[in-house]
Each structure stands twice: as C-alpha cells, then as structure tokens.
C-alpha cells in the first residue's frame, strides 16, 4: 500500500518461467533479469513497455519489493544512469522504474525468441544463454580495481 509501482509488460513468458517452471522465484526476479538481458543485447522498447490490460500483459511490481535485494537497487540505478548519462538518474526512482521496464521489455523479446523452440522446461536454455553471454573478464582488476580500493577506505578515512 502506497509503495511506488513499476509498470511493466508481463507476457506469458512470466507464467512460464516463474509460475510453471519456477526458474525465477518472483516476477520481479525475472523482471530484473530481462532488463539486464535487454541491456546486454542493447534492446530497449521505448513504447508500449508497460503492458496493457487489454491483452492481459499488465504487470505491476512494488519498488520496495525489488529493492529488497540490494543488488537490484544497484542495477536499476546503473541502468538509469546508463540510459540517461545523467548522474541524477542514480537517485531518480521514477526514471529508474521506467528505464527498468523499458529494458525489460526489450529483453523479454530476446528471451522469448531464445526459448521459442524449447518444449517443456527451458532452464538449460536460459543457462546456456547466460553462459554464452557473460562478460569477458570476471573479477576486478587493473584500474578499476584501484578505484574500488580508493573508494573504500579512502572515503572512510580509515587509511592508516
């Protein structure tokens, strides 16, 4: 009651991956996942990304629920920043919500395509997709590593 609502396009995919095969625990888990897929494929739906009640694709997710996972909060902020290139986006909930929905709608089409020829449980297909499309290097190294370090203790003034 009263929390901000993310409006997104919720197709049968959600039924299949969340309800039927329980690959994602909550709708918003899938929502975020699809958003990063959208980011990765650079697919974004600028219009009609909220779903419509006429074709039963109206999806609503409470922001606070999504924020229950810290990392999701981070992802939403990054995504909004990436999309607008405006640092203010890092704290703009509305922008973040909309951005999330847009990218999610884009990712939706990608994943729908990806598992369209899979009958039954598409877990392995999803997994394959993730493995195929993971970032080049994992782990933080080089300059970035330094940044991480400096932000950390330097910020806190704990450097001895």
């Amino acid at each position: 009651m009263g929390q901000p609502i993310i409006r997104y396009c919720k197709t049968d995919l959600y039924d299949r991956l969340v309800d039927e095969h329980e690959i994602f625990e909550n709708y918003y888990d899938l929502l975020v996942f699809l958003a990063v897929v959208g980011y990765h494929e650079n697919k974004i739906k600028r219009n009609n990304f909220k779903g419509s009640s006429s074709d039963g694709t109206k999806g609503e997710a409470g922001l606070r629920n999504v924020h229950s996972k810290e990392l999701y909060r981070t992802v939403m902020a990054c995504l909004a920043f990436h999309h607008t290139s405006d640092p203010e986006a890092l704290v703009d909930a509305d922008t973040q919500m909309e951005t999330l929905a847009k990218y999610s709608a884009g990712g939706l089409e990608v994943i729908e395509q990806e598992i369209s020829d899979v009958a039954g449980d598409p877990t392995d297909a999803i997994l394959n997709y993730i493995e195929r499309n993971q970032g080049e290097d994992s782990g933080i190294s080089g300059e970035l590593g330094k940044i991480v370090e400096s932000f950390d203790d330097q910020m806190m003034g704990f450097e001895e």
């Binding site: 994602f24 980011y39 810290e70 990392l71 990054c78 640092p87 203010e88 997994l127 940044i147 806190m156």
Partner: protein
C-alpha cells in the same frame, strides 16, 4: 532224390512231352529255354501237381486238361491228364504218377469234369515194380510239401527269403530241412499232454492233493495278477515322473523369471533415486539462476557505470563527500559504507556519525559509492554462480549417464522376461507349481512303495508256490491212479525240457553251418566286399565292409537273390552232408534234393546274372533252370556253357488258326536251328 525223366500227357499245353534230366556229377545242370508264356511255369507246376496235387496258375487254374485234347473230344469222352516222374531215392528207383480223368460234358466244355484222380508210386524191388501202399505219404517223405517251396521255386519268390521280416521263413526253412519241425511240435504237444496228466492227477488225487493242486493254480493266478498290477503301477510311476519333470521345468523358468524381476525392481529403484537427484540438481540450477542469473549480464553494466562515475568524480561532477542523509541512512541501517556493521558505542560508529554535518547534494554519491562498493560482491557472485552451476552441471551429467545405463538395463531385463513369459503357463504362480510338484513327489514315492509291496507279495507267492509244488511232489497218501498220473506228467515234462533245449541248440547249429556256406558262396562270387549271414535272430543280412566297420547294405535285388540262393544252397548241402555222413542222427537223416528253378535271372542285371550262374551248379546235385532267351544270352550262357548236361527249348504254338489250340513242344534243339 535224383530226378531222371518227366513225362507229361494232356497237362495244360503239354500234350505228349518228355524231359530227361541231366544226371551227371559234373554236368549236372538242365536248362529249359522258353519265352514267357511258353510253359515254364507249367512245368514247375507239373512237379507240384504230381507230388502234392497242387497247382498255381494265373490263368484258368481249373483247366488242367489240354485244350486241344478237349477240343478233339466229343461230349461224354474222357481225357486223361497225367504227369509221371521217374526218379531215384536212397538207392531205389521209383516211378511216380498222378492221373486225373476229365469228362467233357458238352461241345463247349473245355474245363471238363474231373471224375477220377489217382496217385501211384512204384518202386523197383528185385527187378520188378512194386506199388507203394501209401503213395502220398511216400512222396511227402521224399520231398515234404513244406519243403517243396525251397526246391521247386519261382525265381521271383527267391528274393523274399532275404527280405525284411522274413526270419520266420528262414527259421521255417531251417527247421524243415533238418526235421526240426518235429522237435518244435513235439515240444508243444508234450506241454498239452502234461497238462492232461495234471488234470488226471487232480481227478484221482486225494482231497488233500486235489486241494493242493487247486491252491497251486490259484497262486499261479495270483502271481499273474500281481505282475499285472506291478506293471500298471510301474507305468503310473513313469507317468508321474514325467509330470514332475515337466513341473520342475516350469518352476525353473519361473525362478529365473522371479530373479529377473527382482533385479529389474532394483534397477527401477535406483533409477527413481537418480531421477530424484537429477530433479534436485535441476532445482539447484534454477535457484542459482533466480538468485544470481542476472549477475553475469549485469556485471558489465556495473563496471561501465563505475568507470564513468569515477571519471565524473575526477571531473568534479560528483561531490565526493558524504551527504548527511546518507550518513543517517547508514547509521540507521547499521552498516558502514565499507560494508562493516555499525555498532552504536563503537569508535567506528562515532567516526561515521561525526561525518554528519556537511551539506552536499543528496543521494547521488551514495548511489555511486554503493555501486562501486558492490563491485566486489558482484564479482564474487559471478564466480560463485558459474562455479556452482558448473559443478551442478557436472554432477547432473554423471547422473544422466547413470540414468541411461539403468534404463538400458531395465529394457534388457524386460525383454528377457517377455521372452520367458511366453513359454511358461500363464496363471500359475510359483507357489501353485511348487505345491503341485510336492504332491506329485508324494505320489511317486507312494507308487515306488507300492511296487515294492507288490514285488514282495509276488516273492512270497512264489515261495508259497515252490513249497506247494514240493508238497505236491511229496504227497504221501496218494491213490495209485494219482501216482501214476503224476509220473506220466513228470515224464512228459522232462522229455519236453530236453527237446526244447535240443531244438534251440540244433536250430542254431544249422544256422551256423548255413552261415559258413553262405559266406563262402558270397565270397566266391559277390563283389564289393560283401558278406552275407544269418543272424542269431535268423535274419538274412548282407553286410559291406566300410573301413574298419561293416554296414548293413540295403540289398539290391541282385545281392538278395544271390544271398537267398546261397542260403538254399547251404541247406541243400547240409541235408546232403547229413545224408552222406555216417553218424546216426536221432532226428533226421538229411537227404539229397534237386533244385528246379523257374527264371532265377529274371530281375537281375548282367553282372548279377553272371554271378548267379556261377553259383547254380554247386547248389545241389541236380539243378534244373528255366530261362528266357534274353536272360540266357551273354554272361549266363558263358558261365553255364560247360556245365550243361541237358538242354531243351519250349516251342510254343499259340494255335491261332482254325482248329488249332495252344501247345508247347519240348525240343532238344533250337527251332531256328531245326529250321521249322
């Protein structure tokens, strides 16, 4: 017996003909040439008619009198049919004659009615001919009718001797030639007579003895019955045993089937377990995806953002101080930006709290800081995700393999079971079959005990019998008549015993002699490593040497005929040897016989004809052979040329013309040579 001369009058197509037989010791063969239908068989019949009044004609057997004679006669006239044989036997000269008188009844009657028939035998006694009182008997004693088939035979019958299942004929021939028939019959008759005397004993016996005798008979009956029971029970036992075997087979199949089913069950359980584990791993994967699946894809986003923010910070776009509200929220959350928990009252807490106070743009930098702060975590999470997932996948793969393996095993067992179920009876469980088998076992054991019981009974009865017989023998208080009858019975039995033994011995003795001669004959003439013998069972068999073994030969007609001839020859020889030997035979004196053979070459090929021809002269003192031209020419003529004593040709005139009737003349030269 030596035959000298045969005269025929009005005997079928022989109106008035004579044959003089060869009687020499080296040229002892008489050959009669004649085409089929010219009268060869009739000549043979002349002998048997003369001796025994028997004829065996294919056509018109009742018409004995010559057609020509009948034709020339008037109704009411009588025609005499006669066959006369001059012969010698045991040093005496004989003339035997059979006459039959036929009356022509009408102009068209050619059979005639026989109104008289007579056989006479005369012998020369001191220069004059004396009649024999019992001519039929005399003749039969010279060549007994039962032997006649051996000495007057149709060549076509000859191979029957060596045929299958002809042991009886062979035994009969042996018995006959040696007079063993006498023994065999005496045996039987004595048994009957002994039985008669026993009845007499019974009749005259004291009550006691009488009773003993009927007891004895009753026991004998009992024994027979017991033996029947025993045999029945024996058969029953065998039946049960085969039923048991059957059941055991079924059980075996069911046992195998049960074992297989158990194994399959195990496999199925394993499979279920494996599938459960696979399911669980699948769930683990899902869980990972749900929780961290986004991470690998989000990682570049975070990195990118962090890099940009850092740049912005350097450019001064983002303040680097912490905002108040941010610190507040940190304190609220109990968490330091560095991730360390904030405990009120700690130095750390105070330090962070002391950072409050500066007023900077709210939120952005916290966000930036948070983002950057998360990078490590994200990185760890990413590794964790892949490590976990990889391991799960690996485990799952192994389980997939195991699942495939188990499925294959289950299939194998299932098809094996299917194969078995088709052969076992449906609907019978192991339990049922087991029960049935036990029951049958019990039955079987019962039948065994029963057999033993019965045999015990039989034994006891036999003991009783023996003791009764002793008692009967020892009966003291017998009446004279009974005693006498007893002695007579005993006499009959004892003589029977001895004759029985001698009979068997002699039969075998003759068999052995015959064997020797047959072997010799065969060795002399037959080719291809063949031997012939009469077995212990009186079968005439022909053997061939094959390597180290000998194999019974499926006799060709040729070999059969030779073997049969050799056999007859051996008997004739044995008879002759008995006759000529000095030893006093108790049973039979042997004898000398001629052989009269109608077409012995009939069904033979050239080689076999040659061989038979070689054998013929040695078969008997006198041999008479009938042959057609085609049978004669070639090897037969070659072989026999030098041993022919007399030769005749049957000149047959079919009498087709008006007033002509069939007639055969016996000529001493071939018609062509005579120029008729």
């Amino acid at each position: 017996m030596q035959i000298d001369r045969l005269e025929l009058e009005n005997f079928r197509q022989f109106r008035d003909e004579t044959i003089a037989f060869a009687t020499g010791s080296d040229r002892n063969v008489t050959v009669v040439h004649g085409a089929n239908g010219s009268g060869k068989t009739t000549l043979l019949n002349a002998f048997t008619w003369l001796f025994y009044g028997n004829v065996d004609f294919d056509t018109r057997p009742d018409r004995l009198a010559s057609e020509g004679a009948m034709a020339n006669a008037q109704p009411g006239d009588r025609i005499t049919v006669s066959v006369q044989l001059q012969f010698e036997h045991e040093g005496e000269a004989y003339i035997a004659q059979r006459e039959a008188i036929y009356e022509k009844r009408s102009a068209t009657d050619f059979d005639g009615e026989m109104i008289d028939s007579e056989v006479t035998v005369k012998y020369r006694n001191n220069g004059s001919w004396q009649p024999r009182n019992n001519p039929g008997n005399t003749l039969d004693q010279i060549i007994p009718e039962r032997l006649s088939g051996l000495f007057f035979f149709d060549g076509e019958d000859i191979d029957e001797l060596a045929g299958i299942d002809n042991q009886d004929r062979i035994q009969e021939a042996i018995q006959n030639i040696m007079g063993l028939t006498i023994l065999e019959r005496a045996n039987r008759h004595l048994d009957t007579v002994a039985g008669r005397f026993e009845d007499e004993v019974d009749e005259y016996a004291s009550d006691e003895l009488s009773e003993l005798i009927s007891e004895k008979r009753a026991i004998e009956d009992d024994i027979e019955e017991f033996k029947r029971d025993r045999d029945d029970t024996q058969r029953r036992k065998e039946r049960i045993e085969s039923e048991i075997e059957d059941l055991e087979q079924k059980l075996e199949r069911l046992d195998e089937s049960a074992a297989l089913q158990e194994r399959r069950e195990e496999y199925r359980e394993d499979l279920a377990e494996v599938e459960d584990r696979i399911d669980s791993l699948d769930e683990d994967i899902k869980s990972q995806i749900s929780q961290n699946g986004f991470v690998p894809l989000a990682m570049p986003l975070l990195k990118e953002t962090a890099t940009e923010l850092d740049q912005m910070r350097e450019e001064g776009v983002i303040p680097s101080e912490l905002s108040n509200s941010f610190v507040d929220s940190l304190l609220d959350a109990g968490q330091c930006i560095c991730g360390r928990p904030l405990e009120p009252g700690t130095d750390h807490y105070d330090k962070v709290a002391s950072m409050r106070g500066d007023t900077v743009a709210d939120g952005v930098e916290q966000s930036a800081i948070r983002i950057i702060g998360h990078l490590n975590e994200v990185s760890d999470k990413e590794s964790e995700f892949f490590d976990s997932v990889d391991e799960i996948i690996e485990q799952r793969k192994n389980l997939y393999d195991r699942r495939d393996e188990l499925e294959e095993l289950i299939d194998e067992v299932s098809s094996e079971l299917q194969g078995m179920n088709q052969t076992t009876e449906s609907g019978q469980s192991i339990g049922e079959l087991e029960a049935k088998r036990e029951q049958k076992e019990t039955e079987r054991e019962e039948s065994i005990s029963e057999i033993a019981r019965i045999e015990e009974r039989i034994e006891r009865k036999q003991e009783e019998l023996e003791s009764l017989e002793e008692q009967i023998d020892e009966q003291q208080d017998e009446r004279e008549e009974a005693l006498l009858a007893k002695r007579r019975q005993k006499a009959a039995e004892l003589v029977q015993d001895e004759l029985e033994g001698s009979f068997e011995d002699l039969k075998d003795q003759v068999r052995q002699w015959s064997n020797k001669m047959i072997k010799q004959t065969f060795d002399d003439i037959a080719s291809k490593d063949l031997t012939a013998e009469i077995t212990d069972d009186f079968e005439l068999k022909i053997w061939q040497d094959v390597g180290d073994e000998r194999v019974e030969v499926d006799k060709s007609t040729g070999e059969r005929q030779i073997a049969s001839l050799a056999f007859i020859g051996s008997l004739v020889n044995i008879a002759r040897e008995r006759y000529e030997s000095d030893s006093d035979s108790e049973y039979f004196t042997g004898g000398i016989y001629p052989l009269v053979m109608d077409s012995p070459f009939g069904a033979l090929d050239k080689d076999h004809r040659r061989q038979v021809s070689k054998v013929i002269p040695s078969l008997a003192n006198q041999v008479v052979v009938f042959a057609t031209d085609s049978q004669w020419e070639g090897p037969v003529e070659e072989e026999m040329r030098d041993i022919i004593g007399e030769q005749y040709w049957l000149d047959f005139d079919s009498g087709e013309g008006e007033g002509e009737y069939p007639q055969t003349r016996i000529a001493t030269e071939q018609a062509s040579i005579r120029g008729d």
